[in-house]
Subunit: 432 residues, 2 copies
Amino acid sequence: MKKDKFLYDKIYEYYKELIRSGKLEEGTKLPSIRQCAELQAVSKTTVEQAYINLCDDGYLIPKSQSGYYVSYTGRLREERKSVKNNKSLKYSSDYASTGVDTSVFDLSLWTKYVKNALRQDYRLKDYGLPQGERDLREQIAKYVTKTRNCVCDESNIVIGAGVQSLLNILCALIDGESKNVYFNDMSYKQGIAVFKDRDYKICNDIESADILYISPSRATKWGDIMPIDERHSLVKFAHEHSKMIIEDDYDSEFRDLNRPTPSLQGLDSENVVYVGTFSKLLLPSLRISYMILPTELTRRYNEIGALYNQTVSIPDQIALKNYISDGRLSSQIKKARKLYTQKSKILTDALLNELGKKAVIEKTATPLYARCKITTSISLNELTQSLKNCEEPVRIIPVSEGKGEIVIAFSVSAVKTENIEPDMRKIAKILL
Amino acid sequence: MKKDKFLYDKIYEYYKELIRSGKLEEGTKLPSIRQCAELQAVSKTTVEQAYINLCDDGYLIPKSQSGYYVSYTGRLREERKSVKNNKSLKYSSDYASTGVDTSVFDLSLWTKYVKNALRQDYRLKDYGLPQGERDLREQIAKYVTKTRNCVCDESNIVIGAGVQSLLNILCALIDGESKNVYFNDMSYKQGIAVFKDRDYKICNDIESADILYISPSRATKWGDIMPIDERHSLVKFAHEHSKMIIEDDYDSEFRDLNRPTPSLQGLDSENVVYVGTFSKLLLPSLRISYMILPTELTRRYNEIGALYNQTVSIPDQIALKNYISDGRLSSQIKKARKLYTQKSKILTDALLNELGKKAVIEKTATPLYARCKITTSISLNELTQSLKNCEEPVRIIPVSEGKGEIVIAFSVSAVKTENIEPDMRKIAKILL
């Protein structure tokens, strides 16, 4: 791993701060990549990566053959706020949401599993194992070994209600010396909170970090994933420099559909703590997550783990165990992938149908996302505002704009299938 | 509150350490209460309280008209260990367990509530509120206002999967300056772990503490509870000295049956954080707890609470809400109280029946516990060993022994009703 590999984060933070504080105003043109590389004494690749990330996160808009401009940050902040409050504006179709399509989840089937679990009353009279029920851990070990090429058995697995519950335990297992944590996704506030609360320092360069919190699926906002060579070099770098990796494998089931990538844990199981969750696979309202500990931390867990009570109710654990061992989880994932692929196709077909040669579909890493370049005289801002002010408001992901063209992206997971075609017609109408 | 009110903990720790380290050997007589009071320059009441606590925790055995002797500590430690491992010895009847009688819980009724909750699929597609579902918080507010005279509304309540999950959030809300925590029940390792992990100091005197973690129900091992005047003076003391109280109201539903005592929260809602759990009322395997925050911490929670994801699944929250609002919880508590009262009566009747005038039943604060003084030439050690070596081993709580008499106690909650009479016959047979 080259030393400047993660220098781009410094560049990123530098401009982010300038934009956030208002020192760089809306519409200001940034120095070109070459100029910036000279100014900051870094490589052009580094600057490019930083600019791309700033675009991803909505701070910059790239204009073709012109350069990078400070985005309508006020508007972006407004939008984010309104989503957070959830009261100010309710979208009929939200193509910026990473929510799930709950229609894929057979709730009545799950109800049967819960009901069945509640019949096993001899297992419910007890507090159960702090680590989680053994049979569920066995099923999870099998599942991640098969689907994510993880290296583990049930003894390495700890179950908990949500990633934060697990991180709380993990912090207690980690030696108190390592206090600098790098997050590749700084927008994951809940993860950062756990470490900040324990006086860990959150740092934005990988060099000075003791722990690297990596969400390979969160590489960019529209679902690109960390490529395999980067995974290999990251794992090697961490190992050589005795930095522990925490791999938050959020959403992997859907993201690496076209080109399966191995988990970091599978590449170095002795230096990677793997964190996974079933909330996205089942229902957001069900909180069952797990982590896989390396040998050394497993040994430590066996010493002090009993101090941390299990947070997932046993009926849910039993239900999930049977749900996995009966093959229900696999078929559900298949079903979801099929549905998301279908939705992406409906969306791109509709766009091409409505816009003809004015639309060019760009390739994405996963069927969860569709991205499209459109020839139009309408600006990104005009489009998003029009969509927002519709009777049935629609939200999309603005990506970039150039002379007479814009790029927009769509996350299809949370949107209703039957809404897609009417929404694309609406977009076409505004654009043409 | 007099200044030496909690000095007894210092005395307690002093002797505990001497006994644990083996510096005071088994059978050694301790200085009399008067001698010790002079030696340590504290009041006799203080020493008495310390000695009583040392007896409660199995370090001392009081012999009538003779004094206090170091207990068979090796054996006690062995016993504790064996219970912890759970493998070495499985008791047929465990009168030392604080487990619940699950026969009182109507599992099929609860299953109906869960099933019904799983039908509300529009509420399950979402992550829900980090604070917990609003309707459940409203029900809990009503419940604790009525049964524990708490002062709160739903906005003060945070729901979480177990007390530790809530304490993790609470620590984030508390200002970082207050770092000394006093626990009145030092055996609550899970609670202590949360604070230790965050570099809080655990102190055993109330004077130097910033935070007082009080479990009023855990005042002694056999179910005595903190008396009302002590509650009043504790709350006043804490208020005057700006020490925050965390009240862990564990088991209160069953403990203060005969003489209802108010919660500390009800006495000073602006300085007490109340923590309660439904695990004991429903099933140990269901983890739903809650805390009630004072105004100031509620304000702080509203600022940063969104950083901490809810850990209880929404179906469980909906089920519990309806279970409470339908009056099911109240009737179940009534049922449990009736059952425990019945079991205590069966136990004491059986003892009196078998032992006649040799047994004197002592009054306890709650029907969860029975305590009995028995005239016998058998020692406590001989009794517990015989019961342990039975084909169907029985465990009791050894309290004290004197010349030709012993005091033993029984926790009836976890033991099967039909076992009680045969068990008492077994005890009588050994004793006579």
